[in-house]
């Protein structure tokens, strides 16, 4: 973390540092990736899976997963769903934004070391997973085989197309499998829902960790298939979304039982989730 930013966030954890959008990538008609930095460079160096509060000062503040990071910036892939995200989608390069973080536990990178990595994403759910994919790519020797299974509603809804079709297939021992719910004239890839696609591909559970993120309906149908393939609850890791305001475990609303998603999450293993109240 850059020193001035760290000092400010330690003194006033709820006050954002002002930063700037330096690049905007249009991923799909309703998803854009924003590259954010500050005058002190990258505001902090998050672990994969961690979160940050991003704000347009007059509009509002919300928690987003950090999709990945560069040397000098953080990336957020954001779907248009409400007032703040609508306004962000209108923003242009040079827009000042507020940023504070990093928050949450992040993916269990040490637990994953030496294991084969299976990444399963649906729709915008690939955004948080992407941070772990890049972590594994950047530390390729420490992880086994990588397999990425990703699906979206249609070809135009696929996010990170350059990664999916150019960058990731070139990574050593990395298999990328993409599907869409409905194809179009130009689509010659797989058509079908993510859960069935997983079943067809039949990834092996031995010495593997599966990181899954996607819409609730996808998760719901994916979990029984994972079980059928022999994955245990400890081998399945996901990341949750809750409404958050403070991000530092004070304001109360993101609790699931006695755990606060902003502090103790957002990453949980299925084994952990099964021990928590079903209220998310």
């Amino acid at each position: 973390m850059s020193d001035p930013v760290r000092k400010q966030l330690e003194a006033h954890p709820l006050v954002p540092v002002v930063g700037e959008i330096i690049k905007i990538v249009e991923e799909t008609p309703d998803v854009k990736t924003f590259h954010v930095t500050t005058e002190h460079g990258k505001p902090f160096t998050p672990m994969p899976g961690q979160l940050a509060m991003l704000s347009l000062l007059p509009v509002g503040e919300a928690m987003f997963s950090i999709t990945t990071q560069g040397e000098d910036h953080l990336e957020f892939s954001i779907k248009k769903t409400g007032m703040l995200t609508d306004a962000l989608h209108e923003a242009e390069v040079g827009q000042k934004v507020g940023i504070r973080g990093p928050y949450g536990n992040g993916f269990p990178v040490d637990f994953c070391k030496g294991k084969n990595m299976l990444f399963i994403g649906g729709g915008i759910g690939l955004a948080p997973v992407r941070s772990m994919i890049y972590h594994c790519i950047n530390n390729r020797d420490e992880y086994g085989k990588m397999q990425i299974i990703y699906g979206a509603r249609s070809p135009q809804d696929l996010v990170f197309k350059e990664d999916l079709f150019e960058n990731w297939p070139k990574v050593s021992d990395c298999e990328v499998n993409v599907t869409v719910d409905r194809g179009d004239d130009r689509w010659d890839g797989h058509v079908g829902f993510v859960p069935q696609f997983i079943e067809e591909l039949g990834p092996k559970p031995e010495n593997t960790v599966a990181i899954i993120c996607g819409p609730p309906i996808m998760i719901k149908f994916t979990l029984p298939i994972m079980e059928k393939l022999g994955f245990t609850d400890e081998q399945i890791i996901t990341t949750l979304e809750m409404r958050m305001k403070c991000g530092i475990g004070k304001c109360g609303r993101c609790n699931i039982g006695s755990c606060y998603v902003c502090l103790d999450g957002p990453v949980f293993s299925l084994a952990q989730l099964k021990n928590m109240p079903n209220e998310y």
Binding site: A11, V15, L57, M83, E241, K250, R253, E279
Partner: protein
């Protein structure tokens, strides 16, 4: 020990107000609440204040920072200044106890909330022991000693026409040494009264951990109106919202109390709400106090002040609920 003739209460408060804002219970428009002493109010030490003094450390509405924003530009112009010295006079032992829970929330688990911390560090507490608890009080079941408030700088007792004050900290000693209207003296500490309501919360958290899906919640929630009176009168409820207000190019970010009883509290931008109905919200409120808080901070988030049960329009009574939860059968 110092003795104060109640006739000289104004002298005492005036001298305390010389270098701090003094807050004391004042009855105004039918409501006893802590108000800034202006030299000329009627102090009411009969019943506990309807609103706990938590808003002096955690205001119902609090500006966090100011900014200017226009088009691409945005700048934070001012972060709320640190707090000034304040004395809370006449805080009851239950409310003093609630500060230990507020401290847990705002000052531990990795982050210190600077807004709370600066107020907390600048606050001196003069606690008033209770001789006669209200019918709704059950503090003695919640580990409160109504004659001795742990965490108070000065402990005070009502002797009828006099008050006895005893310093409990160095800050309290210095405060009393420079205060007016006090005489050296001694008095027997009043015995404190007996709470009519009693509960037994020990071991409940462990049982509640197995009761999330229990049909009890479905029945309990029926009469609840879903208002926030209980949460806003509670000295330990601390949930808040963060919002902003824009006036032209300028604006400010503020936080304000929020209530887990409100439907909007957990509703997400896409419309999904993990606690969509009264049942989930009522359950969360009681589990938060009786199970989640104990699991997280090692104590029940209730001090037995009885405000919620005194003011609940439908008599949702936490003492009854604790008893019923203790008695209800569970399938293990």
């Amino acid at each position: 020990m110092k003795i104060l003739n109640k006739q000289k209460l104004k002298d005492l408060l005036n001298s305390l107000a010389a270098d701090a804002t003094v807050y004391a219970p004042v009855k105004q428009d039918g409501v006893i609440r802590f108000q800034a002493w202006n030299g000329d109010q009627e102090i009411d030490l009969t019943d506990n204040a309807l609103l706990p003094p938590k808003d002096l450390l955690f205001p119902q509405t609090e500006v966090m920072y100011k900014y200017t924003a226009n088009g691409m530009r945005a700048e934070i112009t001012e972060v709320a200044a640190t707090a000034e010295k304040q004395v809370i006079f006449g805080m009851r032992p239950c409310d003093v106890k609630s500060l230990s829970m507020m401290d847990d929330v705002f000052l531990t688990k990795g982050y210190e909330d600077d807004y709370y911390k600066s107020k907390r560090e600048n606050t001196v507490i003069i606690s008033l022991g209770c001789n006669e608890p209200a019918p709704t009080c059950f503090c003695s079941s919640m580990g409160v000693d109504m004659t001795e408030a742990e965490g108070a700088d000065v402990m005070m007792f009502d002797l009828g026409d006099k008050l006895a004050l005893e310093a409990k900290t160095e800050i309290g000693e210095n405060l009393l040494a420079s205060a007016s209207g006090l005489e050296d003296g001694s008095a027997d500490k009043p015995a404190g009264g007996q709470c009519q309501l009693k509960v037994e919360p020990d071991g409940l958290a462990e049982k509640l951990a197995k009761m999330f899906e229990h049909p009890y919640w479905e029945e309990l929630c029926r009469k609840c109106l879903g208002c926030g009176a209980c949460t806003y009168l509670c000295p330990t409820c601390h949930c808040f919202d963060i919002r902003r207000k824009n006036i032209g190019e300028k604006g400010f970010q503020f936080r304000c109390w929020d209530s887990c009883m409100f439907s909007e509290y957990t509703r997400m931008a896409g419309g999904h709400n993990p606690r969509p109905s009264k049942k989930e919200r009522v359950r969360n409120r009681f589990l938060h106090k009786l199970q989640y808080f104990p699991e997280r901070y090692g104590k029940v988030a209730c001090v037995g002040c009885g405000r919620c049960l005194a003011k609940c329009p439908v008599n949702m009574d936490i003492t009854r609920i604790i008893k019923e939860l203790g008695e209800v059968a569970i399938n293990e």
